[in-house]
């Protein structure tokens, strides 16, 4: 079967600086991939490349066999940016109805995603008056409303309490179970074991591309922070 993501020798230059350098990886459909690495390592740029909003210097980026950003992919790839990008002066349901129409999703999809992110009691609330965690869930719901085949989430767990974080991972696991491909970025290493596959990034390069248990075994570590440090020390030294 065609891989969900194929990236080959990707190079991205922003403001004269190489932000992503010779990155290659392939992801099969229905995988939950964690993109981990410190702030500024190129995670967001790599994600913007996948959704087709980033100008690329060189290399190949394909989703489901189509070049990233192709018109045919636009209804199938959901993108949740780090800062919630929704209309703060509209209600939750007004936001979702608008994006549902743009994505060509049925009206019933709005109620479904409001339910999925547990915002039922806030459906009529103006988004600007919600808390940070609620705002993040509206932004997620906006990406889910089109039932995308792939979902790209940039630091979705930032600012969520442990309970909401657990609910979010449960929701993401459900999505993977029905065949959705997920790319989730985080700078928190302890979220790594929720993923089926880890991409560790540092300074624009991919340090490791392994399932979590393989990464731990390979580095002889018991936690992902140590694994990350071991990898960097091995490289530099």
């Amino acid at each position: 079967m065609e891989p969900a993501i194929r990236v080959e020798h990707l190079q991205v230059i922003r403001g004269g600086r190489t932000v992503v350098s010779d990155v290659s990886f392939t992801v099969p459909s229905g995988t939950l991939v964690g993109l981990l690495g410190p702030n500024g390592c190129g995670k967001t740029t790599l994600m913007r490349t996948l959704v087709g909003t980033q100008v690329v210097a060189s290399g190949l980026v394909e989703l489901f066999g189509q070049p990233a950003g192709s018109p045919s992919l636009r209804s199938h790839v959901g993108y949740v940016t780090q800062a919630p990008s929704v209309y703060s002066d509209l209600t939750v349901s007004e936001n979702l109805h608008y994006f549902a129409t743009i994505l060509g999703a049925p009206r019933s999809a709005v109620d479904r995603v409001i339910n999925d992110v547990e915002l039922g009691e806030h459906a009529g609330a103006v988004v600007g008056q919600l808390s940070g965690g609620e705002l993040a869930r509206v932004s997620l719901a906006t990406a889910l409303v089109g039932s995308p085949r792939m979902l790209v989430l940039d630091e979705p767990t930032v600012g969520l309490d442990p309970l909401l974080r657990r609910d979010l991972w449960a929701l993401l696991t459900d999505l993977v179970a029905v065949g959705t491909t997920l790319i989730v970025s985080s700078h928190v290493m302890d979220e790594a074991d929720r993923c089926q596959r880890l991409l560790l990034m540092r300074a624009g390069r991919i340090l490791a591309d392994d399932p979590p248990e393989v990464l731990l075994a390979r580095t002889g570590s018991t936690d992902f922070d140590t694994a990350f440090i071991t990898l960097i020390e091995d490289l530099s030294g």
Binding site: T53, P71, S85, Y87, D89, E94, I102, G146
Partner: protein
């Protein structure tokens, strides 16, 4: 371009306005109060209100819509909603037309209120049709919206966006023929005024002030303003980028 996504975008922009009643009140009240003020200032000066009133009836909405659209579009850019929309199956033309429709609708209401008060209460009189004055006011407001959509691409902050009003609109106000007729401007400025849209917007209302019938000059003026609206909307769509650096 589909009507569905264009219409949804227009409805969404109007819903945003509805959640902001103070802005709606300002949109309707500011031009109406300004026209009242003008009528009062020129009270008893024979014919002056009928000379200055009609062009300003078009220019006030143009300025207001220019500012509102500039800020609204800039907000879409800085909040990330525009980037999100452009990863979705929304055509750039659908986005731009959605805004034009929404603010065009607001402009119709605004023009009806301001014209109704000007002709009914403030005693404005034109030789031509008062309805055509309303039409010109709406086209002028659309021009403001279209210019706001395209020029906001040049602004990266709100500070810059609001300064585009004095930078792009005030020179046109000086050159459009209200202060002195365009034919009496120094030659170079006369040529410059020939390529500025507000010259034709004001020209159209001046035709309505003085001629009882629809003149070919009026049709030419309103045609030129419409062409500027279309060109600015196309430019606005062209400045939207799905991919950025």
């Amino acid at each position: 371009m589909t009507l569905r996504r264009t219409g949804a975008t227009a409805r969404r922009v109007l819903r945003q306005l509805r959640h902001d009643p103070r802005t709606v009140a300002l949109l309707l009240a500011v031009p109406a109060v300004l026209m009242g003020l003008l009528a009062w200032i020129l009270h008893g000066r024979d014919g002056d209100f009928n000379r200055f009133g009609p062009p300003l009836l078009g220019i006030f909405p143009l300025i207001v819509m220019f500012l509102v659209t500039s800020v609204a579009t800039l907000r879409e850019r800085t909040s990330g909603t525009l980037e999100r929309l452009l990863t979705m199956p929304l055509a750039k033309a659908e986005f731009v037309m959605g805004y034009a429709l929404a603010f065009g609708f607001a402009a119709v209401i605004q023009a009806l209120v301001v014209s109704g008060l000007s002709f009914g209460l403030y005693g404005l009189h034109v030789s031509g049709s008062a309805w055509l004055v309303v039409v010109v006011a709406v086209v002028d407001a659309l021009l403001g919206t279209a210019l706001g959509l395209s020029l906001s691409a040049l602004a990266s902050t709100e500070f810059q966006a609001v300064q585009f009003m004095p930078a792009f609109i005030l020179p046109q106000l000086l050159l459009c023929g209200i202060i002195i007729p365009r034919s009496q401007l120094p030659a170079a400025l006369n040529w410059l005024s020939d390529v500025l849209p507000m010259s034709y917007a004001v020209g159209a209302t001046q035709q309505l002030s003085t001629s009882a019938t629809v003149t070919s000059e009026f049709l030419l003026d309103i045609g030129v303003v419409t062409m500027f609206v279309i060109a600015a909307l196309l430019l606005g769509a062209a400045t939207l980028r799905r991919r950025t650096r």
